[in-house]
Symmetry: C2
Subunit: 126 residues, 2 copies
C-alpha cells in the first residue's frame, strides 16, 4: 500500500495523468447491501456446492437427494439450506413428507448484475 493511498494528496492535487473518467456504479448502496447478504450466504463451501447442484439441476431437488450427493448428514444439509432460504438464494416447497429446493432465479440475476457479466465477457482479458 502506498503513502498516497493512506493519506496522500487530495484528488485536486493529483498528477495530470490521473484520473480517467469512471462510469457510475449501476447499483445503489442499499442494493449493494442486499447483494452483500447474498454473497455472505455463499461464504461456506457446502453452501456453494448446494447452490451449484441446484443451479445445474434446473428443477426443484428433493432434500433427500442432496444428502446423498453431498455426503453430509440430513441435519447439516438442512442447516445450510435454511441459511440459503433465509438469504433468498433458494426457495423451499413442501412435497409430501419431503421438501424440494430450487435456486431463486431473481437472486442469481442480482448477483450477475454486480459483475456486469454480459459486458465483461465481451472484453479482452489481456
Amino acid at each position: 500500500m502506498t503513502a498516497v493511498e493512506r493519506g496522500g494528496p487530495a484528488v485536486s492535487e493529483a498528477p495530470a495523468a490521473c484520473c480517467s473518467p469512471l462510469a457510475q456504479p449501476n447499483m445503489s448502496l442499499d442494493d449493494a447491501a442486499v447483494t452483500a447478504r447474498l454473497f455472505k450466504a455463499l461464504s461456506d463451501p457446502n453452501r456453494v456446492l448446494i447452490v451449484n447442484l441446484l443451479a445445474n439441476a434446473g428443477e426443484p431437488v428433493c432434500v433427500c437427494d442432496l444428502n446423498v450427493q453431498l455426503e453430509l448428514s440430513q441435519p447439516t444439509v438442512s442447516h445450510h439450506l435454511k441459511k440459503l432460504v433465509e438469504a433468498g438464494l433458494v426457495t423451499r416447497e413442501q412435497r409430501g413428507v419431503w421438501a424440494d429446493y430450487a435456486v431463486d432465479r431473481s437472486a442469481l440475476g442480482r448477483l450477475a448484475t454486480v459483475f456486469d457479466v454480459g459486458t465483461v465477457e465481451g472484453r479482452s482479458t489481456t
Copy 2:
C-alpha cells in the same frame, strides 16, 4: 423444517416418488472452498460496489477515482481494496504515485461457474 429433514427415514426408505436423478456437481469441495473465500470477500456492501465499478470500467481504475466515486475516505477504500486483492478478486498495479485496480477475470469466471449462468439463462424462470 420437517421432521423428515431432522432425522426422518433414510433415503432407502424414501417414498417411490423420491427422488429424481440429480446431476453431479461441477466442482469439488476444494474448488468450493476457494470459491467460498471469494464470496466472503464480497459480503460487504462497499466491496460489492467497488467490484461493480471495476467490472463496469473494463480497464484498470485509479484508487483516487474510486475514493471520489464511492464518497469514502482513502484509508477506507484502501482497506476494502486490500481485502479484495488478498481474496484474488482484484489486481493491483502501481502507476507512479497512484495504484490502479482491476477485477480479476479468472476469479469472476470462477464465481460464474457456481451458477452455471449460461445454462440458467436459457431456462424458464416459472
